[in-house]
């Protein structure tokens, strides 16, 4: 089992904010032996781990007991800061319009994660969901490959591209 990524990734994420999607948390608890060293490397470089309340909701919804729920909540709270991005939702009207045009079926959680990248253009997002985070407005900066005995999984690190976003918005304005 191994984790493969560009060494440039670590220097580029130095002192940056990294938002986590639900699937990355699930991957982290599924393969802690693989991910721990990687997370440690990022933390050592001053990278801040963040997520949003709706990711916490998704992560905890499979809990069978109150104890499980508390364990999962505590795990996320000890691992990442929970940023209430939804309080800034009134700033996202442009983003909503662009995202709904590009990805009509996007979930609310994914929309809010895009909102994080939009609100903080220097921040990054790590996710395994590549279909709902449109490359029409985002750059996929890095790919992390997890090679397990069972399968091969790819995690993308995304960042908002202002140029792409403007172009996508312009196309909507032109009615394309």
């Amino acid at each position: 089992m191994s984790l493969l990524y560009s060494t440039k990734l670590l220097s580029d994420l130095k002192n940056c904010d990294l938002f986590f999607d639900t699937n990355t948390f699930i991957a982290a608890i599924s393969h802690p032996d693989i991910f721990t060293e990687f997370f440690q490397e990022l933390k050592d470089r001053g990278c801040a781990f963040l997520t949003i309340p709706s990711v916490v909701f998704e992560f905890t919804r499979g809990s069978q007991t109150i104890e499980d729920f508390n364990n999962r909540s505590e795990f996320i709270n000890n691992f990442a800061s929970i940023y209430s991005i939804q309080v800034h939702e009134s700033d996202f009207q442009e983003l909503i319009l662009v995202l709904q045009r590009l990805r009509g079926t996007i979930s609310y959680t994914d929309f809010l994660l895009c909102g994080c990248l939009y609100k903080f253009p220097k921040s990054f997002l790590i996710t395994e969901n590549h279909k709902d985070f449109p490359l029409e407005i985002l750059d996929r900066k890095y790919i992390i490959t997890v090679d397990t005995e069972k399968d091969l999984r790819n995690y993308g690190i995304y960042q908002l591209s202002s140029d792409k976003f403007d172009k996508a918005a312009l196309n909507i304005l032109k009615g394309k």
């Binding site: 499980d68 309080v87 319009l97 918005a169 304005l173």
Partner: protein, 70 residues
């Protein structure tokens, strides 16, 4: 609604952060204070604790529960 989109010229500059600029000083201060209080929260990463907790939680996932949820 969506009046900022009705412009036909120079879309760039009207787009990102337009809302930010249109906020009142009080709203801007409130935003800044929120970010400041948030950025002061530094969570240290404890590798051994992370591994231990992750393994505990992993056990609570049902066998048929999909590991990756969208």
């Amino acid at each position: 609604m969506l009046t900022w989109y009705s412009t036909k010229t120079k879309l760039k500059g009207v787009m990102i952060m337009k809302k930010e600029a249109s906020k009142t000083p009080k709203e801007q201060l409130k935003d800044k204070l929120y970010h400041l209080s948030f950025s002061m929260r530094k969570i240290p990463f404890k590798a051994e604790e992370f591994k231990k907790k992750a393994k505990e939680i992993r056990k609570t996932f049902k066998q048929d529960e999909p590991l990756i949820q969208y």
